[in-house]
């Protein structure tokens, strides 16, 4: 039976379609993977943004460590040197920065009409667009995390937690990126265009980083800042990683954050991040429903 492109004989087409149409889950996987593949192709052919996103944290690590090199050991409450303290902060704010930019390709797709191609297709769910972007950004963030981690080790920091602690680091970064990535994607649909998107990213990026424990521990902060930092999801990603960097005899029950309202262990932090993720994804689904036909 010749599979002609332009046969419109209804019977044979029905037969073919029935044989062709896979389950909803398989369809979702197919479209998500195709969109993810497109993002990966774009990355491989235009790597400058990603390369830049690796160079920036490395510079930060080197320069800030040099700045605080003379600081008395133990002043920051953890580890041998500021590098060790800083590494967790740099890992998290790099991942955060990437996550905030997750929506940018979508904004351009909207503006250049490419999104129409996706919206006109019989997708199993339009959430596959979101899912593909999220998978992509989590993947690239984990690569960034690896590079920064290795660099900090090369600079003399020790990862006391050992290899068994690595899955926890991966999980923490992934949860953080998922949440902020989803928010960024929501913004991509909610905002009018790329200028507004870039403005939003600018406004959100540094304030959120500085109102977390990226650069200094909670007990350095005045009360009001400590409260703000305790409500900041970034803090709940930084502290577990920092703890694992510094503590060889780590445990899942030990407190890693002394927030004004509670002490949190690692599972507690992960739960906070997961709750944040659920809210973020819910918000995106709402935005999509409202903005798309």
């Amino acid at each position: 039976m010749r599979d002609s492109l332009l046969t419109t004989d209804k019977v044979s087409q029905d037969v073919r379609l029935r044989a062709e149409t896979p389950s909803l889950a398989a369809q979702f996987a197919q479209e998500t993977f195709a969109l993810l593949r497109r993002l990966l192709i774009q990355l491989s052919r235009r790597p400058s943004f990603f390369v830049g996103s690796l160079i920036q944290p490395l510079m930060f690590l080197v320069l800030f460590s040099a700045l605080f090199a003379q600081v008395p050991r133990g002043l920051f409450g953890t580890g041998d040197s500021y590098t060790e303290f800083l590494a967790a902060g740099v890992i998290v704010f790099t991942a955060f920065g990437s996550a905030l930019n997750a929506g940018l390709p979508l904004v351009f797709d909207r503006e250049f009409g490419f999104l129409n191609r996706l919206l006109v297709a019989p997708l199993a769910s339009r959430l596959s667009i979101v899912f593909a972007s999220v998978l992509f950004i989590v993947g690239t963030s984990l690569v960034q995390t690896l590079v920064i981690g290795l660099a900090s080790l090369a600079m003399g920091a020790h990862f006391a937690g050992g290899l068994e602690a690595l899955p926890l680091v991966v999980l923490t970064v992934a949860l953080l990126v998922l949440g902020f990535g989803a928010l960024s994607i929501g913004l991509a649909f909610a905002l009018p265009g790329h200028i507004e998107m870039l403005a939003a990213v600018f406004v959100l990026n540094l304030p959120l980083v500085f109102s977390s424990t990226a650069l200094a521990p909670l007990h350095f902060m005045p009360d009001w800042l400590r409260l703000v930092a305790s409500l900041n999801p970034l803090t709940y990603a930084i502290e577990p990683i920092r703890y694992l960097f510094a503590t060889s005899q780590w445990s899942l029950t030990a407190p890693v954050i002394a927030a004004p309202f509670a002490q949190m262990s690692i599972p507690g932090c992960l739960l906070v991040l997961a709750a944040f993720d659920t809210l973020a994804v819910g918000l995106v689904a709402l935005i999509l429903k409202k903005k798309l036909a």
Binding site: D3, L5, L6, A34, L35, N116, R117, A121
Partner: protein, 338 residues
């Protein structure tokens, strides 16, 4: 609602803010034909197509594709439709083949089928040699062809095109037209919008003329023209005539028995635009010439034709298509909607 219709739109309404883009539009597209939607810019053509292809939610109205209600089962209708928007929807970093592969995956074709269809459509649109080059190296015409190939990949019942030849060079326009004719020959229903008279006139077996959000005339091009009736004579006294000469000639010619109406077209050098009762041009033209001679006026040129779709539009709206286009672009300069 005829079962044989590929697309049925009934009483469609859609507004954007204070602008009513579509205001009670109804039409039926028969299967296996090329249906044209002709109208000036701003008439509501794009909005209608976007509602049909599930890119917009209509305010009111009923749309069916091959008998399936678009609002009730959007996914099923998306499978039946192929949409080619006015601006190409391509990713310049990908190669042509990669874009088609993405399209195949979005429509859930299995790998073997996808491979076959991709090769076929590349061949059909003459893109095989450049399939593995990046899209950013393609010419405008090639990008359009790739867009067309993508729209057809999943063998839709209905191919919907929004202004398919805007901005293309003549060669590309011709090849797109030939391609569309070929599709219809093979049984695909084609629905296209255009503000180009000659495109619709040449391609469409049925036309709906739309202005200000509703259909003002529908039928086969010939039937529409016959309904308007009469012959059209464009008469130039000089290549560019002074107004008062044109007016004198208009008065004199208007008195002739077979002349129904005379319009002076200021935008065309004050040419005289006459509607005449169908008659033997061997008699009517010499009579017009001698009328002018009596006034001492020369005759630069005479063109006679059957009524065109422009005349249909003029009869229905009081404006020619060109003037309506101009008016729309002036209005659009005020507020550009994206």
């Amino acid at each position: 609602m005829s079962k044989d219709a590929a697309v049925v739109i009934h009483d469609l309404h859609k507004h954007y803010g204070t602008i009513k883009a579509v205001d009670g539009l109804s039409l039926e597209v028969p299967r296996g034909r090329l249906f044209g939607l002709l109208g000036p810019n701003g008439a509501g053509k794009t909005t209608t197509l976007r509602c049909l292809c599930t890119l917009e939610r209509p305010d009111a109205g009923h749309i069916e594709v091959c008998g399936i209600d678009v609002r009730r089962d959007p996914r099923a209708t998306r499978r039946l439709l192929g949409y080619v928007a006015q601006e190409v929807a391509l990713d310049k970093v990908l190669t042509g083949r990669e874009l088609l592969q993405l399209q195949a995956d979005l429509y859930h074709l299995n790998p073997a089928l996808a491979r076959t269809r991709i090769d076929e459509s590349l061949a059909l649109l003459g893109l095989q040699d450049r399939a593995d080059d990046r899209i950013k190296t393609y010419s405008g015409g090639m990008m359009k062809r790739l867009d067309l190939a993508a729209g057809l990949l999943h063998s839709p019942e209905v191919l919907v095109l929004d202004e398919p030849t805007v901005g293309l060079d003549i060669q590309s326009r011709l090849s797109v037209w030939n391609f569309l004719r070929e599709l219809v020959r093979r049984g695909i229903t084609v629905l296209l919008t255009s503000h180009y008279l000659e495109e619709i006139d040449m391609l469409a077996s049925e036309v709906a003329i739309i202005d200000r959000g509703r259909v003002i005339a529908q039928g086969t091009p010939d039937a529409l023209k016959q309904r308007v009736g009469g012959e059209r004579v464009t008469l130039r006294i000089r290549e560019f005539s002074p107004r008062e000469e044109a007016e004198r000639a208009a008065t004199a010619l208007g008195a002739l028995p077979f002349v129904k109406e005379v319009i002076i077209n200021g935008a065309q050098g004050n040419a005289l635009y006459l509607v005449v009762a169908s008659g033997d041009p061997l008699q009517t033209v010499p009579m017009m010439r001698s009328t002018l001679q009596e006034l001492g006026l020369p005759l630069f040129g005479v063109a006679q034709s059957r009524p065109s779709l422009d005349d249909v539009f003029l009869a229905a709206t009081g404006q020619t298509l060109q003037d309506a286009d101009l008016a729309a672009s002036v209005a659009a300069r005020g507020k550009k909607k994206k």
